[in-house]
């Protein structure tokens, strides 16, 4: 291929990607506007929100507790052997607690929920789309965004901070068990340093982050569910995109939220 043709192909490809990106942003903006519009309109289906809270919150408890306890435990181990070298091993408790509160709690709980609930949302709505169940709702005069997306987004926004708080709690429990029972850090010292260095703002920072993560994960999960077309293959693709973009959003947003919250809290 001569350089001119290659250059033209590259520019065309770049143009297509840019147009597709702008199109995607436009669709997402339009979807968000529809969500905010329908969120405020009656009927408010409280039962559906509780159903989703049960699925997203309660059904994620086991994996959150498992991940939280082992994350706290391993963090305690890793920091202990580093801190021991400079004789500050009593700081293991607050370091693990602050890390869990500010970063690991919201981010890991967010990644778990993106993988579990975000994928389920895209798959459920996508399957309903390809089997005309979404059309059936619309024909009945029920807005599909209001019926399917609003309860899921509200429930995830509510559930993720609770899951992140549980992650923090069991993570600290894991850290306490390893720190004081296995590594023999003095228990009184462990709690004294924890009280000295840990502030309420640290927990607030994590909870605020997890509220934003919960909202974004559910918006992305439901959005890709509604975008599904072309049968089972489309459902698989939509689910995959929901998980990938949900996780990317959590990680990227974490940086921006951290830099913002550090300034304001």
């Amino acid at each position: 291929m001569n350089p001119l043709t290659l250059g033209r192909h590259l520019i065309e490809r770049l143009g297509t990607e840019v147009i597709s990106g702008i199109d995607g942003v436009g669709r997402m903006t339009n979807y968000l506007m529809r969500y905010f519009y329908w969120q405020t309109k009656p009927p408010f289906r409280i039962r559906l929100i509780f159903d989703q809270l049960y699925f997203i919150g309660n059904k994620s408890l086991f994996i959150i507790c498992l991940a939280g306890s082992f994350t706290g435990a391993v963090m305690a181990y890793q920091t202990y052997f580093g801190f021991k070298l400079i004789n500050v091993d009593s700081l293991v408790g607050p370091v693990v607690a602050i890390t869990l509160a500010k970063e690991l709690g919201p981010v890991l709980a967010g990644l778990i929920v993106a993988g579990r609930a975000g994928a389920a949302m895209a798959a459920q709505i996508g399957t309903m789309k390809v089997t005309e169940q979404v059309d059936a709702l619309e024909v009945m005069g029920i807005n599909s965004v209001q019926y399917l997306a609003v309860p899921r987004i509200l429930a995830t926004t509510l559930a993720l901070p609770m899951l992140a708080a549980i992650f923090m709690f069991v993570g600290n429990f894991g850290s306490w068990v390893v720190g004081t029972k296995a590594l023999l850090i003095d228990e009184a010292m462990y709690f004294s340093k924890l009280g000295e260095f840990m502030y309420l703002q640290d927990i607030w920072q994590g909870l605020i982050k997890s509220i934003v993560f919960g909202f974004i994960i559910a918006v992305i999960g439901t959005y890709f569910g509604f975008q599904v077309s072309k049968g089972a293959e489309g459902v698989g693709k939509g689910t995959n995109l929901a998980v990938v973009w949900g996780m990317i959003s959590v990680l990227v947003l974490d940086y921006f939220l951290t830099s913002f919250l550090i300034q304001v809290l």
């Binding site: 619309e138 024909v139 009945m140």
Partner: protein
């Protein structure tokens, strides 16, 4: 072209374009009240687009769609949603909510749009399921546990739950075996008869020319976004239109 006084649906010079592609092209025709009318046509003729215009799910690029004397173009989003309660629709594959049982599927529109208490809703749902021939033993089954024909019956029961003025059938017999096809056709005729007193209008979108001629009062033939033939079902097979003849004799 057939003309009716006080039609249930009146399509007036409707054109629909998607970018440069014209799907409906100055379409004009009426669908009479209290009758079964079938719209036939090849794939891509614009049948589904027409159906979406009748339901108000799509807006025409130009022209007017009137349903029960209401110009759909004059309704705002909320009013249009409420207006859609005049329709019942049986989807090609029934489109039952797969996490709900048969009873829950039929109860769903009653729960959403009426103030009835739960016992009354369940009573009504069971009554409608009985009326379309679903036995009690199947009332609490999930759609995945029902046969194709039974799913159609439950889909019809759900569509009839709010006593619609207009029943729309989207390819009701596509993909069904001959016995189930016969059953679905009989069900359509039976439903029209039972609800004749309250003026139920039935509109069928179909490829199935034989069934259409057998069960319909009127048959229209859609080709490239326009009605090229519209006759009483008894006369349709004798249409001189070569496209219709090709379709009838396939």
């Amino acid at each position: 072209m057939l003309k009716f006084n006080d039609p249930a649906i009146s399509i007036q010079n409707v054109t629909k374009k998607f970018d440069d592609h014209t799907v409906l092209n100055g379409l004009t025709f009426d669908i009479p009240r209290n009758k079964i009318t079938t719209i036939l046509g090849f794939s891509g003729a614009g049948k589904s687009t027409l159906l979406k215009h009748i339901l108000g799910l799509l807006k025409p690029s130009s022209g007017v769609v009137e349903v029960l004397t209401q110009d759909l173009g004059l309704l705002d989003r909320i009013a249009l949603r409420e207006f859609r309660r005049n329709f019942g629709m049986l989807f090609q594959y029934a489109a039952l909510f797969d996490s709900f049982t048969a009873t829950e599927n039929v109860a769903f529109p009653l729960r959403e749009f009426t103030d009835l208490d739960i016992d009354e809703i369940l009573d009504r749902a069971h009554g409608i399921l009985d009326s379309v021939g679903i036995q009690k033993i199947s009332h609490d089954k999930l759609p995945s546990e029902l046969s194709g024909g039974m799913r159609k019956r439950v889909g019809l029961a759900r569509a009839l739950a709010l006593s619609p003025q207009i029943m729309l059938y989207d390819e009701p017999t596509t993909g069904l075996d001959p016995i189930t096809t016969k059953m679905v056709n009989e069900l359509i005729v039976e439903t029209a008869k039972i609800h004749k007193d309250r003026g139920l209008t039935s509109v069928i979108i179909s490829h199935d020319v034989r069934a259409s001629l057998a069960i319909s009062d009127y048959v229209a033939f859609l080709d490239r976004g326009n009605i090229v033939e519209y006759l009483p079902a008894k006369e349709f097979a004798n249409s001189p239109n070569p496209l219709v003849q090709e379709f009838v004799n396939l």
